[in-house]
Amino acid sequence: MFQNRTEALALALPAAVFAALVFVVPVVLLLSEGFKSADQWTLSAYVDFFSQSLNRTVFLRTLKLGALVTLAAAVIGYATAYAIVSLPPGAKGKMIGLVVLPLMISPVARTYAWIVILGRTGIVNQALMAVGLTDEPFRILFTETAVFIGLLQLFLPLMVISLISALENLPRDAVPAARVLGANWFQVFWKVILPLTREGLVVGGTLVFTGSMTAYITPAILGGSKVLMLETLLYQQVTVANNFVSASVIAFILIVMSFAANILLKRIATARNRT
């Protein structure tokens, strides 16, 4: 450990000042716009924002989709992570690689694929009509279902990775012991696996939830103007309505949720380090 404070500051300050100037200052200025009206501090912009039913719908839809995607990712994530952890080492590494692979591909490309799959003449509709389940193609694109599917595909890998590391720390004999003692699979999950992997679930859940809440590309491509979420609404408020106050309100909501999630994550991380 070196003691020279001047040297330490000289090394660290450029990065800190850069982040403050480029990031913190403009963002704080933007947020302050939502609390000001004619140079007075006020919450009127927030009252206005939530008094409009479209905004309320978008806000609740964003929360709802975030929650649903997180729930689905948790269910599928446990099934997947459990299957991967039980593989022999070589296969396990390859599977983890395949799960991580989509994270390296541009989200634009990943979302674009769903147009081909879910569109009017897409694969799903072709299959449904071939089987004779429907004569008319279903409208899946530009519905909440499409956005849900797109978000789930985008963020599922984060959940799987978090749960894999949690499951690997599960004591080897915990599950067989519970089985021998007569627990069924549901009880094993609820009483043994879930309590012992809660941290991993919370970490993955936070990543998936904040990711879904603050996603732009998926709702923009798969939801369009019919299924607005907070980020697409923000974009519309600026580009179409030129309403920066409303944009500032949305920005504040997004930042509060993002920070809350991060504080939660940090709490869990420090709690783990102590034990």
Partner: protein, 259 residues
């Protein structure tokens, strides 16, 4: 029996869901038809060839490359000394510094883009290119600090202390002892930063002007107007590029050790 089938079935279904759409994009980009469709109509390379002839794609590709390489290098130039200060020195206000450099990961990108547009580009006249450069640098900074800090934590600090005791200057110790030992971590941080910056959309949404926009933003704009397979072809090409880079990094560096 049911238990032995469980893992393969689950994994097959999940992989189809996660990776299947990517194969559809690849297949659609070899189509001979004029609209995006699957199964592709016929086989041709014309859409892949077309990608290289679209002027705006070439321009925005250059912009994105410049941002990804220049932004990441700048973030490393800022981030390596900061990480070093945080791990080896008694740094006053070290929590504040840590918080400041990690904010870009917490604040959604769209807000940063908007804030830069509203307070730097419009009133001060900062050019779009410079605003994009600043935004992408800031965005990569937390990754650079995190990955470099992790490799510094794995390097015993008595090595450079020994070098200093043996008469090397502190700077000399850094360049001769520390830097060669964290080379892998720096390269990993560069690759992670490059991929993150290159694929980034929200931060650049509001930062586009005539002739200056990033490739993903250009693709979003293009697909709103034209529904031909060229965006699929471009997506497939970019995906192979990313996968190639990451695969090579994993193969030669053991990339996943650092991330």
């Amino acid at each position: 029996m049911t238990q032995r089938l469980y893992a393969p079935i689950i994994l097959l279904l999940v992989m189809i869901f996660l990776i299947g759409p990517f194969f559809i994009i690849v297949a659609a980009s070899f189509s001979a038809g004029d609209t995006l469709a699957f199964p592709p109509q016929g086989f041709s390379l014309k859409w892949i060839a077309k990608v290289f002839t679209v002027e705006s794609f070439r321009q925005s590709f250059a912009v994105s490359m410049f941002l990804a390489i220049g932004g990441t290098l700048t973030a490393l130039l800022l981030g390596i000394p900061a990480s070093y200060a945080m791990s080896r020195y008694k740094l006053p206000l070290s929590e504040t510094v840590r918080f400041l450099v990690s904010t870009p990961i917490i604040v959604p990108g769209i807000i940063v883009g908007l804030a830069l547009l509203r307070y730097f580009v419009i009133p001060v006249g900062l050019s779009i290119t410079l605003a994009l450069f600043l935004a992408h640098t800031a965005l990569v900074l937390p990754y650079a600090v995190r990955v470099v800090s992790a490799s510094l934590a794995n390097l015993r600090s008595d090595m450079e202390e020994a070098a200093v005791l043996l008469g090397s200057s502190r700077l000399g110790a850094f360049f001769r002892v520390v830097l060669p030992n964290i080379r892998g971590g720096i390269l990993a941080a560069f690759i992670l930063g490059f991929v993150t910056s290159f694929n980034q959309v929200p931060v650049s949404l509001f930062l586009s002007g005539p002739g200056v926009r990033t490739l993903p933003i250009d693709m979003l704009g293009y697909m709103e107007i034209v529904f031909d397979p060229s965006v699929a072809a471009l997506s497939a090409l970019l995906a192979f590029l990313s996968i190639g880079i990451v695969f090579a990094a994993e193969r030669f560096l053991g990339f996943s050790r650092y991330v």
